[in-house]
Amino acid sequence: MAHGPAKGLRRWLFTTNHKDIGSMYLWFSFAMFIVGGIFALIVRAELFEPGLQIVDPNFFNQMTTMHGLVMVFGAIMPAFVGLANWMIPLMIGAPDMALPRMNNWSFWILPFAFLMLLSTLFMPGGGPNFGWTFYAPLSTKYAPESVIFFIFAVHIMGASSIMGAINIIATVLNMRAPGMTLMKMPLFVWTWLITAYLLIVVMPVLAGAVTMVLMDTRFGTSFFDGAGGGDPVMFQHIFWFFGHPEVYIMILPAFGIISAIIPTFARKPLFGYSSMVYATASIAFLSFTVWAHHMFTVGMPIAGELFFMYATMLIAVPTGVKVFNWAATMFKGAMTFETPMLFAIAFVMLFTIGGLSGLMLAIAPADFQYHDTYFVVAHFHYVLVPGALFSIIAAAYYWLPKWSGRMYNEVLGKTHFWVAFIGLNLTFFPMHFAGLAGMPRRIPDYHMMFADWNMISSIGALIFGASQILFLYIVLDAIFRGKKATGQVWEGAEGLEWTLPSPAPYHTFSKPPEIK
């Protein structure tokens, strides 16, 4: 084999190179982010003022459902896998991922899964309209015909995630350069290693859930049908046994990214490295014991209710430790505020807000009032948008010079940050108020007392959406016209990836690097 990449389309179709595959994952996830964003904007346009103006309620439900599915499985998760592909080999001094052919396969099945999922919108009866949580029996007996395509698509996404996870575990455990002990690994590698185990445990559970839905809709079983001896609440237990670890799948790699960026721009080592590792591990472990906090109102026995309340409160402790460690890293540093750092600081602050509202939600009696209202929508967007999404954007700015060999435009980058930051808070902060005032989620129309908050949210969403177009421009501008980047890129950056030239050559660490 030659040393450079193949030419043309074949390069991308047949590539087994971790950098190529990483780039494809990242571009794919950006495309899905735009698609999911358009769905969200349709939702927000309908909610701009009271009354039904733009869409039919059934289509509205399809939009919220598709928005959730596309953002979770199409935008956030593939972006993290893309970052893992690019960065893990560079961070641990490995020549490539351990299973390169599987790597190609796990990427290339994704576009087909999403093509199939999105095509359901054009089928008679419409696409999935039962929420991304697809509670039975709304997703079984009462589902549109297209539910089987939704199920198949989820199966493929799950297979892709499991393959990605196996690959990451195999790479981290077998391919580290000599001297790169586990406790020397950058936190991004650690958090991804732990995330990969979470994925391997819970994705099969999701596959089981969709398979049972398939059996109930097409093969006459009654897993979730009380009339046939089944139990619709069991569906929720199974779903959230997947679903809660899933939210940590979407945030643990983010913790790793932030733990790389803050020390760089504070010019000071990460505070409490080992406590960060242990906190990540305990969050991952506890994440399996809290699932029913999504189900406080289903009528669980009080013992169950109490157990899940206490466990959920407990998970806030290691999460708090992380926030304190980041704050301590900033303390007495010598900080500069380049774009990645701005996104990272916003991450810490706004993720904290999302974590604190999570703590309120953990209090079971109070959750009876919060549950299924816009308060919850505000909560999970504060952890997902300035959380998961901002960490990905921060990572893109932080490593783009290493990937492309060119710097992005700092002024535009900062503009992107401020517009996104303002748009985001305008969108999601008022949702706390609407929710507390009594607005349920997943409704296409509402009483006038919620009108003011909703209008602000919709305006914020438009601003946030527009800022992402600027992001695309900044990235393209950097790739095609940017100033040449040095190998070190950032003054305070440490780690193996910065010992390489920028852009990182097509093959790196063919000879293992020296670890000090």
Binding site: N58, G126, P144, V233, E305, G333, P365, D372, G438, P440
Partner: protein, 380 residues
């Protein structure tokens, strides 16, 4: 940077504020409401207290964290010429910031636990109301009182579509509210007939899922007479946003009067079964029933929603009467078409069938009498 950001805020907010202040709204509507209601039951007050307690703890924690971060961002920036220190570990600190949150949380767990125990204590109720969620309405049944009825949203479609001015209780009004006495422990037994719904009245601190095949319990002692409004809180299909809950809490004697009246009304409806009606009467009544019960799916023009809800033009509506009665009385199992036999009175079923057979160009020219429905049910 900061100054520029502040300018941006003002600039961005201006149009929003303008639009909002120009918006015309019913005057009674409370605006910019930001917090949970305190409510009118012992549970809702406890929950409100817990909510505020947690909120202030969260504010305290946020202030501590943000102060440290802002202090560092202001004081420890490279442009001030500071040199970074190199400390990066402290077991003592790690223990401190594990222990303090843990203690706060344990302190919070106590009131939360006692409230939860109270919330779960549905014993010794003086009145039992069975609440059943349907797509998309609620059914209330007073146990041992032989009184039951359905409660449908009463906001006209014209308001939703913006053709009419919106009323003060837009989307939060029903044709028949649930009525309960004050100062009485009422137990709600909550279940569903089709998909999962959730019965939520914020002022009572109750949100309980209504699940087909299960019965969940909740309770309330309302101490202030009044009208309390809520909404279904679990996605239950197309019209999930349009199944409000209205509860009227009446003084005990007024409640008793209402209950007696209700019983008489129900008996009268049952008598109608024995009467024979003119075509015009049935058609008119049928149109009303249709608008209230069937439009959500089959649409006002009978055209349905392609691929989900069939059109009623043609089909069984122009076939034999028995087939038509069968669909409406027994529903179509496994689809969204419910069995209306239990939900509607004989008159109403007869009327709506007559309507369907003669509306939208179906022009069958025949009609169905309540007694036909009664007989059909008997032989079924």
């Amino acid at each position: 940077m900061l100054k520029r950001a502040r300018g941006l805020w003002a600039w961005l907010l201006a149009p929003a504020v303008l639009i909002i202040s120009n918006q015309t709204m019913a005057e009674e509507v409370e605006r910019w409401k930001l917090n949970m209601v305190e409510g009118v039951t012992p549970i809702s007050r406890e929950v409100y207290g817990l909510h505020m307690l947690m909120f202030w703890w969260c504010v305290v924690i946020a202030v501590v964290v943000f102060t440290i971060m802002f202090y560092s961002m202001i004081m420890h920036r490279k442009s001030r010429g500071v040199k970074a220190s190199n400390f990066h570990e402290s077991t003592v600190l790690e223990i401190v910031w594990t222990a303090i949150p843990l203690i706060i949380l344990i302190a919070m767990a106590f009131p939360a636990t006692t409230s939860l125990i109270k919330l779960y204590d549905t014993s010794e109720a003086e009145l039992d109301v069975v609440i059943t969620g349907y797509q998309w309405r609620w059914r209330y049944e007073y146990l041992d009182e032989d009184v039951y009825f359905f409660s449908n949203m009463s906001t006209p479609r014209e308001q939703i579509e913006g053709l009419e001015a919106r009323g003060a209780n837009y989307l939060l009004e029903v044709d028949e509210p649930l009525v309960i006495p004050v100062d009485t422990k009422v137990r709600f037994l909550i279940t569903a007939a089709d998909v999962i719904h959730s019965w939520w009245v914020p002022a009572f601190g109750i949100k309980t899922d209504s699940i087909p095949g299960f019965i969940n319990e909740a309770w309330a002692i309302v101490d202030t007479p009044g009208t309390y409004r809520g909404q279904c809180a679990e996605l239950c299909g197309r019209d999930h946003g349009f199944m409000p809950i209205v509860v009227e809490a009446l003084p005990k004697d007024e409640y008793q009067q209402w209950l007696d009246q209700k019983r008489t009304d129900l008996a009268e409806i049952r008598q109608l079964t024995e009467q024979t009606f003119e075509f015009e009467e049935l058609y008119q009544r049928g149109q009303q029933v249709y608008t209230q019960w069937c439009v959500a799916c089959h649409r006002a023009d009978g055209a349905g929603v392609s691929g989900i809800f069939p059109a009623l033009i043609g089909g069984v509506s122009v076939g034999p009467v028995e087939g038509h009665m069968d669909v409406v009385v027994n529903g179509v199992p496994g689809t969204a078409m419910q069995a209306f036999g239990e939900q509607l009175s004989e008159v109403d079923i007869a009327a709506v069938i007559t309507y369907e057979r003669n509306a939208w160009g179906n022009n069958m020219g025949d009609m169905v009498q309540p007694i036909d429905i009664f007989n059909f049910k008997q032989n079924d």
